[in-house]
Symmetry: C2
Subunit: 383 residues, 2 copies
């Protein structure tokens, strides 16, 4: 396999972007990424989005967005693995360059969620329609069951769940692209509206519009271009049962443990070598479970870890979601996996400003679909 690097990034601000269409947002982020990378063309592109059809009545978004970006006739495909669509777009771009078929590929993600669709209903198409959704449960309920099980089995407390949201809002307050730049308190989380017991409104990531793009190229080409480049040292993906009820355990996500094992093996590192991570905190409990399944903390101790500040930017064992995560930065579904890569790139090139992690050499991005039926993990290293 050829070595592959990231050489440029660009994203829109995340939020309720009433004045921007899906096409506008994608083009804005893609142009920023292309300009940031300094390349004069791209060979191919991938777009991650969960459901252009249900959200805005437009499928075929690979071709649509290549057209609006003005880059046709290059190959342009859309990929989808629910909320892991962005991670899959990045992975396909990586594989295409690694294979030798292309040298420069743009990987992007976009979602327009505030245009009138019933968001919870659309997102529910990422769970098992026949055995979960048909019976009335949607994602807050599925993650609430994971939270209940974790609290029961490991004495995880709601204060610990709340600490995830508090930390992520603190980080997001330093991110100019974040949807919510306000800090919050434990009490504010605990007193927010109950959504699905024990998850309250401030345990849940928001509904967002936004787009994010990165440009990847072969290491060989990056050397010629003399660009700031960050190497992709692992790309791993795994799946699990679509329905939560089919799993042996509710407190561990098998797709995460398996993808992580593969990723660490590819990168030839251990979890302790990772300096910081972006993980898929669609709900506060998700960050806790994932931080354990990635091997950063023993199973059952993720709640205590965040409460003790071990995942904070300063003085933590491993800073998690320095960007603000899905909770504060926002979660325009298809864009999320790419925005995670952007945070890795900014940290690893020392451009994260107030959020900068000291001595950041290796970063990990974990992007997840459904209640963990899909997981994509990338590890990037400053070279």
């Amino acid at each position: 396999m050829r070595d592959v690097v990231v050489i440029g990034v660009g994203m829109t601000k995340f939020g309720e972007l009433w004045a921007k269409s899906l096409r506008d947002m994608f083009v804005e982020s893609a142009l920023k990424a292309i300009q940031n990378s300094g390349v004069d063309h791209i060979d191919s592109m991938y777009v991650g989005t969960i459901s252009g059809g249900l959200f805005v009545g437009q499928e075929h978004l690979g071709a649509v967005l290549a057209d609006y970006l003005g880059v046709n006739p290059i190959p342009a495909s859309r990929v989808e693995s629910a909320c892991a669509s962005g991670g899959v777009a990045f992975r396909q771009a990586f594989l295409e360059i690694a294979s030798g078929q292309s040298d420069i590929v743009l990987a992007g993600g976009v979602e327009k969620m505030t245009d009138g669709a019933d968001v919870t209903e659309v997102l529910a198409t990422a769970a098992d329609q026949e055995y979960e959704i048909y019976h009335g449960i949607t994602f807050p309920g599925l993650y609430a069951m994971i939270a209940q099980a974790h609290m029961h089995q490991f004495k995880t407390t709601h204060r610990q769940l709340a600490a995830v949201s508090v930390k992520n809002h603190k980080n997001g307050s330093k991110n100019p692209n974040a949807q919510f730049r306000s800090e919050i308190t434990i009490d504010k989380v605990l007193n927010s509206t109950l959504v699905a017991d024990p998850l309250r409104l401030l345990d849940c990531s928001p509904v967002s519009d936004g787009a994010a793009c990165v440009v990847l190229c072969s290491m060989e080409l990056a050397k010629k271009l003399s660009k700031n480049s960050i190497k992709v040292i692992a790309s791993a993906q795994a799946s699990d049962t679509i329905a939560l009820h089919s799993r042996e355990s509710l407190t561990t996500l098998k797709s995460v443990t398996i993808a992580a094992e593969k990723a660490y093996k590819q990168a030839k590192i251990k979890p302790s070598n990772v300096n910081f991570a972006e993980v898929h905190d669609c709900f506060s409990i998700a960050e806790i479970v994932v931080s354990e399944d990635l091997g950063f903390f023993d199973k059952g101790s993720g709640g205590a870890a965040v409460e003790k500040g071990l995942t904070s930017i300063d003085g933590g064992k491993i800073p998690i979601n320095t960007s603000g995560g899905l909770k504060s930065k926002g979660h325009p579904v298809g864009a999320t996996g790419i925005a995670q890569i952007i945070e890795l790139y900014e940290q690893l090139t020392g451009q994260a400003g107030e959020r900068q992690v000291k001595n950041a050499h290796i970063g990990l991005a974990q992007n997840m679909g459904g209640s963990g039926a899909s997981c994509v993990i990338h590890i990037l290293e400053a070279v």
Copy 2:
């Protein structure tokens, strides 16, 4: 790039499969392909489908179908480029093996179109929603404009268009998996219901359910398995403007000419070296335009060619759509690109029965999305 081969295929019959769900169909075809290939596992899988969300309320079909096939935790992603989704799934599987990350990958496609959705409305999401669909035009109308332009510019006749459908029904009558196994006549086409002038009902491919899968592996591994293997000697893709009105010409499809040029270059062959082809005959005019744009006939002479029998199985210059094509075999959108590969595999391994093309060594599959905004071309060779 590593050499990649196809080692096994499987598909459902195409048609109105009222008794089979999307999951049933995919699993049936995947199990057939796995059994046919003789492998004891797969490393990864891709699923092409245009809109699980709009057709059956289920996105995240990579994970869903890996689960129902019983192969999780392997990586499983869904890809979409409208009616070219199957071709893109095959391409991603090819790239993943070529890169060296996986050895055995399943590429599949599936669509359940007869479950109550408004099919024309769903398919229209593959055109430009803002500038085409909003104004009331859908795909029959878009291809009718292409037909009008071709008839005006090159004196192509409706009898020539009809000859495409007649030939494809004749071929399909010999295909046990085809939706329509009845032969038709020129007069029957010319007297069928008018859909969008000049296209009549029998100029149009049908609404279908169905699934198709193939197993790909590295050439190296295929040699160890001593399997009947067919080499992928080209994988090329291109895009064009999403809206028809943005193009310089209505009578040539730029995505086809560009993907074809790349494919012939990769395969180191000329159009005249291709022994037979499966092309995207969503409407009769599409086969004529594509047969020209692939370089099989001079621009403007595709209509005369089919009328003279040059694209028939027996005695033709280049047999086209020996499977029956989308017109007779059926067009379950996501499955179509994979079913084309299956026809290539069966022809190149001498298993096409009554449809067998004599001396078939090199076959080409051309799969298209929208009114040609996406095109994926694969060339396969018996080795």
